[in-house]
Each structure stands twice: as structure tokens, then as C-alpha cells.
């Protein structure tokens, strides 16, 4: 009898119904476990036979992880398993935190947004094709970055924040959550809360991870405080195709205005570094300023200071500069 060999590597599928059970299972399985949320990133890895976890923990049956609730301290608590469609369609998200709704709407296709989750979107791995193809690069535990080689195909890779690895973070919702000063709640045996910008880490911290999540950790909730509710928001994503594509560069910004003056701002860009970049220098620059063309240009120029292109992605520098300009211009009278 013929033996079929080319199958997804076998694993134990576990479907806990509580966060506590999930955390226990993840702790026991350690780095042999894989968390399955919407499954969109997961299935690529498993079907390509590149990730071979021993235990797949499907957290789809944990009701606590779903839905959007009013937080006691104000703001919203969004369960990590809330789908991107739910986030994009939620009345309060749309009315008060529209930058998040817009960002969620920009993820891939309706079908993918129906299945994909907010937690999965921020936790997904980079799309660097050398890495995704299973090449033994730094991020995969090897000792080379194929994407930064002189003749590498690196059009979509980073222009800043690189440290050996030059991959970029692919999440659309990540910059929006940073602009909203969201907090990520991570449960392992102990509960921790991270500011959104600290949730994402670069290769200089750990080259094999894109977030603070380590084996045994579970992202359970995203808390969006109401400080930035009803601010002036801006989100723009530039991609190769009109739909269903990862960003080349995206920007998310929140502005608190006092008349024509920017009282406060939070601006984040993604697709330019291995992590979403918060532009705190630009925020300081525009704070207290009227967003004139001079300020817009200065903001754009400051945003790309230190940017360094690879062989094929120098277009990203003006693209990032222009997106930041446009974000600031969006609140001009």
C-alpha cells in the first residue's frame, strides 16, 4: 500500500475552553506548543512544513477571549480572539477609535477578516520570503540574513531598526493600536500588561521573535484607553494591490486639537522596520504647532532621519516621508 509522506507533520490538537487551561497547556508544552487563533498565519507555516509544533493549542473555544467590552477604567477591552470584522464593525470602535476600525478594514479580504483575529494580526510573524521559505536565516536560528545580501530581493524589507535581520512587521492594526496607546494583556502563569509599542520587539532584542510573547505566553486582551477617543485620526496603507496585500508602508496617527493647534499627537508607522515604529520625535515636533506646510514637511523629513535603504527599497524613504506629511496635513484647517 502506498504511504503518503508529504503531510503536515502530526501534532496533538488541544482545544481548551478557559484561559487557565490554555495557559497550563502552554506552560507544559513550552516551546513545542503553537497557539492557533484564526489560523491564517498558522496554516501557512504548518502546510509549508516549516513549523512543526508537537502541540497545537486552538484557543477558538475560549469565550473569554472573544468580544469587545466597556472597560471599568473607561475605554474598551477587546478580546484577542475578536475577529477583525467585529473590530471594524463595532459601533464604538467606529465612532470613537476609528483609526483602529480603518486599520482592521485594511487587512486582507473580507473572508480573511471574518476569520482573522485582532490578537493574531498583531502576533503574526514577518512575511520575509527567505524566512517564510524555511531558509536558515538569523530569525530561523541560523547565522545569515539572505534578504540583506548584495543581490537579495528586498523590496519589501526595512529601512530602519535593522539588526542583522531586515524583515518588517506585517500587522495593519499594530500602528493603530500604538497611536491609541493601547495595552496588551499577556497571560502566562502571571498576568502582564505591555504598552502596545513595547509589545513589539526588534531583532536587536530577540531576533527570533517579533513580540514579547514567549513560549507559554498567551495574548488575551487588548485594552484601548479612552484618552484618545474621538481624536482626529489618520490611517493610510500603501500596498502594491488595491486589496489583499500586506502594507509596503502604513501610518496611523491620533491628534488632539485645540483650534488649529495640535495639542498632542501619537504617530506610528509600519512596514519600515522589524517592528512598528512610534515617531515620538515627530510627535514632539508637531505638538503645540499649527500643521502648516512647513510643519508637515519638517515632520516628514524628521520621520525618515536615519533611514537607510537596502538595494531595492529606497522608494520606502520618500513613501514614509510623504505618509507622515499627509498624516499631519490631515488635521490642517
Amino acid at each position: 500500500m502506498a504511504t503518503m509522506k508529504d503531510m503536515i507533520a502530526p501534532f496533538d490538537l488541544v482545544q481548551p475552553t478557559t484561559i487557565e487551561d490554555a495557559v497550563d497547556i502552554l506552560r507544559d508544552a513550552g516551546d513545542e506548543a503553537w497557539v492557533l487563533a484564526g489560523g491564517l498565519d498558522t496554516m501557512d507555516w504548518l502546510k509549508d512544513r516549516i513549523k512543526r509544533p508537537r502541540v497545537v493549542v486552538d484557543i477558538g473555544a475560549i469565550e473569554e477571549l472573544r468580544g469587545i467590552r466597556e472597560a471599568e477604567a473607561g475605554g474598551l477591552e477587546i478580546g484577542a480572539m475578536t475577529t477583525l470584522t467585529e473590530v471594524a464593525n463595532h459601533a464604538r470602535v467606529r465612532s470613537e477609535f476609528s483609526v483602529l476600525a480603518t486599520a482592521a478594514e485594511h487587512v486582507a479580504t473580507p473572508q480573511i477578516r471574518n476569520q482573522g483575529t485582532l490578537g493574531g494580526n498583531v502576533s503574526q510573524d514577518t512575511r520575509c520570503w527567505y524566512y517564510r521559505s524555511g531558509w536558515p536565516c538569523y530569525r530561523a536560528g541560523g547565522n545569515v540574513c539572505y534578504a540583506s545580501a548584495p543581490l537579495a530581493m528586498n523590496r519589501e524589507h526595512c529601512i530602519m531598526g535593522r539588526s542583522r535581520c531586515v524583515a518588517v512587521n506585517p500587522s495593519d492594526t499594530a500602528p493603530a493600536l500604538i497611536a491609541l496607546d493601547a495595552r496588551m494583556v499577556v497571560q502566562s502563569p502571571r498576568r502582564r500588561m505591555y504598552e502596545a509599542e513595547d509589545f513589539f520587539i526588534g531583532p536587536s532584542v530577540d531576533i527570533e521573535r517579533m513580540t514579547v510573547l514567549e513560549p507559554g505566553d498567551l495574548l488575551t486582551q487588548i485594552y484601548v484607553p479612552d484618552f484618545w477617543a474621538n481624536s482626529s485620526f489618520y490611517f493610510e496603507k500603501v500596498r502594491d494591490r488595491g486589496s489583499w496585500d500586506f502594507q509596503l508602508v502604513s501610518v496611523a496617527a491620533a491628534f488632539r486639537m485645540s483650534g488649529n493647534t495640535i495639542e498632542d499627537a501619537r504617530i506610528a508607522v509600519n512596514g519600515v522596520a522589524p517592528y512598528p515604529v512610534r515617531l515620538d520625535a515627530v510627535e514632539r515636533l508637531v505638538r503645540g504647532e499649527t500643521p502648516t506646510e512647513t510643519v508637515q514637511n519638517a515632520a516628514g523629513d524628521l520621520a525618515v532621519q536615519g533611514a537607510r535603504a537596502l538595494r531595492h527599497n529606497d522608494y520606502k524613504i520618500p513613501m514614509m516621508r510623504n505618509l507622515v506629511r499627509r498624516a499631519v496635513r490631515s488635521v490642517a484647517a
Binding site: W135, G141, N143, V144, Y146, A149, R162, R164, V205
Partner: protein, 296 residues
């Protein structure tokens, strides 16, 4: 079972070496801890301190109260190299142990460049101003002293041999550090060509996958060796019976009593006259005052 190497498949499906296994690092940490504890217990049980007291000898005439052992230039080298080495070890292994050090790669290569600079400085200083060959040569006295040292270690009746300015164990340690340092430096420079530094245009294909794996493995082995070497070095520097060595590296001199107890005046002759000549001409006279003579 401890794994020695990390291996993977390259894009062409070939099985290649990519570096040392982290098990080796943990093994070195455990071995270093075992050695330190074992040595401390063994030393106490053997009663070596009695030998040290017996070894005290009359002070030769003309020896100054403070015998210069390390010039300021030598001490600056030692402590700069120590800072670089510790930084290198911490940035190399602490992230592997799970503690995050942001930008550890950048800190690591900068410390590596500092190490290279200190080594170059040391080589020039040693050749130009110190008696380079008396540290580096392997004459009959070197092996005689080594044999006496081994006898002293295995037999409680054998007294500790007195050495020149650089006793046998110090020289052996120095040679081990030379081997590990050169291995780490040569491979480190090749590895630097694969990352962003101001010195090279990054090129991950400078050497083949297999060669790169060997380079990483040698660098890793050197790093693991340094765990053992530096742990033992710090341990001996802090031991009460050896603390005079630490102080001599801080102050530059040893007392007349320490000199008489631990050194052979024939191998390391020191006189008031030479000492005053040294203080008159600074580090330039370092070799004239303190050059070990045994293998000259």
C-alpha cells in the same frame, strides 16, 4: 545527551554547521562553578597556606619596599581588556540565557573592536617596552618550573616553586588567553562583515555557508573557553591567598615581603638602583627592572 554543535539545512538541502550548541555554554558554566567550589574545598583540605608560610624567605639585600610589577601602561591594558572581555561575555551569553539586552549585537561588536585595540596596544607595548620573549619563550626552566608546580599540586610535601615575574601558572593562563583571544578576534572580524558596522560593507556571502558555520563554531568555542578562563581568573584574583596579585594589578607594585615569599630573586632580580632608574624613566624601564630572567 549534550549536543556540541548546532546544524541546519541550507537552501540547497545540505546539512551545514551553524555554530556551537548552547548546551556547551551551560556545560562551561557548570564546569566553572564545579571547579571553583572544588578548588576551594580541595585547597582548604590540603592546607596550602602552610606551604606559603614556609616559603617566606629572607629578603635579598637592595630590594625596595615596593617592587614595581606592572607599569601603568600594562595596568591600563589589563583593565581595558577586562572591561571589553566582560562586556563581550555578557552580551554573548546573557541573551541566550533569556535575559534581554537591547542592541546586544552592537554592544558586542563595539566591545570586540575595543578588545582588538587593546590587544594591538598590548603587543606593541610588550614588544617595545617589556621583555616579550621571556613571557613567550618555552625554555628548559619553564618546563622545570611546570614540573615542580605539578609536584606541588599532587604532593602535599612538595613546596610551591618560586617563579620569575611571570610564574608558570600565569604564563600558561596567558597562553590559553592568547589562543582563545586570537580565535575569537579572527572569527569575530569575519562575523562583523555579515552585519552593519562602519568598517565593512555587509556581505553575508563573503564565505560559504559551511565556512561561515565553522567560523561561528570557532567563535563559540572561544567564547565558551572564556567562560572557564575568566571565571577561574576572577576566582583566583579574589582568593585571600592570591589577593596580592589583584592589588598588584591595581597599584602596580608588590611589597618586599610578597616579593620574597612568591618570587625567586634569581629569576626576577630587583634592586633599589633599578627601581630608581625605572621611576626616573617611567614605563620605558619596565623591562629593565622586572624582566623575568629564567629563559633569557
Amino acid at each position: 545527551m549534550i549536543e556540541l554543535w548546532r546544524r541546519t539545512q541550507n537552501p540547497w538541502g545540505q546539512d551545514i554547521l551553524i555554530g556551537v550548541s548552547w548546551d556547551l555554554m551551560w556545560t562551561a558554566v557548570v564546569l566553572a562553578a564545579l571547579f571553583l567550589v572544588g578548588h576551594a574545598v580541595w585547597y582548604r583540605m590540603r592546607g596550602f597556606s602552610a606551604h606559603a608560610a614556609e616559603a617566606a624567605a629572607p629578603v635579598p639585600a637592595g630590594v625596595p619596599a615596593r617592587v614595581q610589577r606592572h607599569s601603568l601602561a600594562a595596568r591600563i591594558f589589563h583593565w581595558s581588556m577586562s572591561a571589553a572581555m566582560l562586556t563581550l561575555l555578557i552580551t554573548a551569553f546573557v541573551p541566550v540565557m533569556g535575559l534581554e539586552i537591547p542592541a546586544w549585537v552592537t554592544i558586542h561588536w563595539i566591545a570586540g573592536v575595543v578588545l582588538i585595540a587593546t590587544v594591538i596596544y598590548h603587543i606593541i607595548h610588550a614588544i617595545g617596552w617589556q621583555d616579550f620573549w621571556s613571557m613567550m619563550s618555552f625554555g628548559p626552566n619553564f618546563f622545570r618550573e611546570g614540573a615542580a608546580q605539578m609536584k606541588h599540586l599532587v604532593s602535599s610535601k612538595a613546596p610551591e616553586p618560586k617563579g620569575g615575574k611571570y610564574p608558570f601558572d600565569h604564563r600558561m593562563y596567558h597562553h590559553a588567553v592568547i589562543v582563545a583571544s586570537l580565535a575569537a578576534i579572527v572569527t569575530g572580524v569575519i562575523m562583523m562583515m555579515r552585519i552593519d558596522t562602519p568598517f565593512f560593507t555587509r556581505d553575508p556571502y563573503l564565505v560559504s555557508d559551511e565556512t561561515a558555520g565553522i567560523v561561528f563554531a570557532i567563535h563559540g568555542v572561544a567564547g565558551v573557553l572564556f567562560i572557564l578562563l575568566i571565571a577561574s581568573h576572577i576566582y583566583f584574583a579574589l582568593r585571600p591567598d592570591k589577593r596580592w596579585l589583584l592589588w598588584s594589578m591595581v597599584r602596580g607594585w608588590v611589597s618586599r615581603d610578597v616579593y620574597a615569599t612568591h618570587f625567586d630573586p634569581k629569576k626576577w632580580p630587583v634592586t633599589e638602583e633599578e627601581a630608581s632608574r625605572k621611576s626616573a624613566s617611567g614605563a620605558l624601564a619596565d623591562a629593565a627592572v622586572s624582566a623575568p630572567k629564567e629563559d633569557a
